[in-house]
């Protein structure tokens, strides 16, 4: 009797256990689906918003490169061309977009174009000096308001006083569309220009360069220091209370909020040492300090992963300790070390808070060419654009997020590649 009861109990328990198993499997599956859904939603919202930033609206403009108006001759030097009266040529062209424009209408027309178009007109002349005294049809950049309206990002069915473009301007746009004098083309400005107050000519080249230069500084500073520190701690340092304390604190430093490092940069690098403000040099130094603990931890893990038998083998044939370490242990640990460094750099690439503290949040309309020039960086650029009221910057910030994600993805791919390519098996 008892044994039958026990038997039933065992069977019931077994059913319960397998049901538990199954339930857990489904919980895991649901969790994974939720995570995936969030990720897909995030990517979708970024991509759907950002893709339009890769196109810009241009308007066909007839430009008369008149010698008299420009005050230029075919023999003009570069400096003379620089001073040429291109704004007058532009003014004439704008007055003739449509026939018989009244003065007030001409003013409204002018606002359909980017403020930068006299530069475009000038650059076209510099590239083709033979156009002097001819009339050329040129696609010039439209104002961001036009661009956004045509991309459907701003609505035209709202009351006039809540629109950037009034009814007359809309009718002009419609007419241009009808006459095929307005088009969308690849937005080269987005990739070749730095930040600007005008969304239609703002680009990420400046902040991208800034990020690259900053990462360069981070790498130059953190990689050798991290290798040195981790090799010393792992292979040479005596195991005592002091090194134990250092080890614990390295782990603690890895968890310090990044803004604290920003304050350190502000207080020490800028105020005490007088580093140039807003530059990749000081930004890179701060981010190097921030990523050092991460890289040291990764370096030490990969040094630890090298089997001690390799070092013993070298020592046993009479290698000195440093020979054993630098000929055998470090080369074997290098792939892991590099991977850790790249992960650290990726972390540094996305960091915003410390850069704001050291002034890399400034508006920089130039592309930096050196580490001591003021520059922006990608995450800070996104921060600045998101903050801007102009609608044109919204798609720009989404597109910049796409670029930074691509950048991160490529860095991680490089890390995986290096690990697979150079990792040695034994």
């Amino acid at each position: 009797m008892n044994s039958i009861v026990a038997q039933e109990r065992i069977i019931a328990l077994r059913k319960k256990r397998s049901a538990q198993d199954l339930r857990f499997k489904y919980y895991g599956f649901i969790a994974m689906c939720l995570a995936l859904a969030v990720l897909v939603f995030l990517l979708y919202s970024i991509f759907s918003r950002g893709f339009s930033a890769f196109q810009k609206t241009t308007i066909l403009l007839e430009i008369n490169y008149d010698q008299e108006i420009l005050k230029l001759t075919p023999d003009s030097t570069d400096q003379e061309i620089e001073k040429g009266k291109f704004f007058k040529v532009k003014k004439n062209a704008l007055n003739n977009v449509f026939e018989n424009l009244s003065k007030s209408d001409a003013k409204l027309i002018k606002k359909l174009f980017s403020t930068n178009i006299d530069k475009e007109i000038k650059n076209y002349y510099i590239d083709n000096p033979s156009v002097l005294n001819t009339t050329q049809k040129l696609w010039v950049t439209a104002h961001s308001n036009v661009d956004q309206m045509l991309k459907g990002n701003s609505r035209r069915d709202v009351p006039e006083d809540r629109r950037k473009l009034n009814d007359i301007q809309l009718s002009f746009i419609d007419q241009l569309v009808e006459e095929d004098r307005i088009q969308k083309e690849f937005n080269n400005f987005f990739f070749t220009r730095a930040d600007s107050r005008h969304p239609e000519i703002a680009g990420i080249a400046g902040s991208f360069m800034g990020s690259l230069l900053t990462l360069f500084v981070v790498f130059i500073l953190s990689f050798p220091i991290a290798i040195g520190a981790s090799v010393y701690l792992e292979e040479f340092a005596p195991k005592n209370k002091l090194t134990e304390l250092i080890e614990v604190n390295i782990s603690n430093l890895a968890a310090v909020p990044s803004i604290v490092f920003g304050l350190l940069g502000l207080g020490v690098l800028l105020n005490v040492f007088g580093f140039p403000r807003s530059t990749p040099l000081v930004g890179g130094t701060v981010l190097a300090l921030m990523t050092l603990p991460t890289i040291i931890i990764a370096c030490r893990a990969s040094l630890k992963a090298v089997p001690p038998s390799i070092k013993e083998g070298a020592l046993a044939i009479g290698a000195t300790k440093s020979q054993a370490v630098f000929h055998h242990v470090v080369p074997l640990a290098l792939p892991g070390t590099l991977t850790g460094t790249i992960i650290g750099l990726a972390q540094a690439l996305g960091e915003t808070a410390p850069l704001i503290m050291i002034g890399m949040v400034a508006f920089i309309p130039n592309i930096p060419t050196g580490i001591t020039e003021p520059s922006a960086s990608l995450p800070v650029q996104i921060f600045l654009w998101v903050e801007s009221a102009e609608r044109g910057f919204q798609e720009k910030s989404a597109a910049a997020i796409m670029i930074i994600l691509l950048f991160l993805f490529m860095m991680n791919a490089l890390a995986v590649y290096l690990r697979n390519r150079f990792e040695k098996k034994w």
């Binding site: 005596p238 013993e312 070298a314 046993a316 044939i317 009479g318 290698a319 040695k424 098996k425 034994w426």
Partner: protein, 256 residues
């Protein structure tokens, strides 16, 4: 067999401590030149510890403390003034698990001579590598693929590569720490034959778990138990007519 009486290594009252725990207790023994001495005993008896005292590999273990005296060629080596690097170039070591460097076969053997500056020219170095591989009985098997990684060889070949690597720096003594325990019987037989040949030029000390192996390859045998040297002497005598009952029990398989 020609008897010789030149003592190569002479240990006196060697104590080894791991932190507080005593691993070896007053070990004294003499090891003769150009002979194979086998160290046998159950696991944890201190035979590997003793072996690693001879080339100071115990220095790597921070908690390990060695006292007493070991003289190699009448020179004290348990002293802070001992030049460990030159000591280790004189005393080669082969480990339990083959540990070739993850480099080419050539570079594995060439590493020792090149750090010690034993070869002036590239052809000198090649000569040393080839001679060492020949002495280790590996040359014929690998002569066509010296640039392949050493780790691509079989276990037995890797172990002979490690022996070649040790020989390449011209040692006088070779320490072997259970060199065959990770190998199959055929690879083991090849290594044992090799040990027999190497005996003509080198003083060999081998730690082994296999009593048959000790009986086959060694001329002298030392039996360790619980950190003490119980008995040492001619291998023949130890295996046929030991003085100590513990030795008797161990070699007949009654414990250990």
């Amino acid at each position: 067999m020609v008897e010789n009486n030149n003592t190569k290594i002479s240990a006196k009252d060697v104590d080894v401590f791991y932190s507080e725990k005593q691993a070896l207790n007053k070990i004294s023994m003499d090891i003769k030149e150009k002979e194979v001495t086998a160290l046998i005993g159950p696991s944890g008896c201190g035979k590997s510890t003793f072996l690693r005292c001879i080339n100071r590999m115990n220095d790597l273990i921070e908690i390990c403390k060695v006292t007493g005296s070991i003289k190699v060629d009448n020179e004290e080596i348990i002293s802070s003034s001992t030049d460990v690097v030159s000591l280790r170039s004189k005393i080669g070591m082969v480990f339990q698990k083959p540990n070739p460097f993850p480099k080419s076969i050539f570079d594995n053997v060439a590493y020792g001579p090149s750090i010690h500056g034993l070869a002036d020219t590239k052809s000198d170095l090649e000569n040393i590598v080839i001679t060492s591989l020949k002495k280790a009985g590996l040359y014929n098997e690998v002569k066509d693929r010296l640039n392949e990684p050493g780790t691509s060889l079989s276990g037995g070949q890797q172990q002979r590569l490690c022996i070649a690597r040790a020989i390449a720096v011209n040692p006088e003594i070779i320490l072997m720490d259970e060199p065959c325990s990770a190998l199959d019987p055929i690879a083991t037989a090849i290594i044992e034959e090799l040990i027999d040949e190497l005996r003509l030029n080198y003083t060999i000390i081998i730690v082994t778990h296999s009593m048959q192996q000790a009986a086959r390859v060694s001329q002298k045998t030392c039996f360790f138990h619980l950190g003490e040297l119980i008995e040492s002497g001619e291998t023949n005598k130890i295996f046929t007519n030991p003085d100590n009952t513990k030795t008797q029990d161990y070699i007949t398989g009654r414990f250990g």
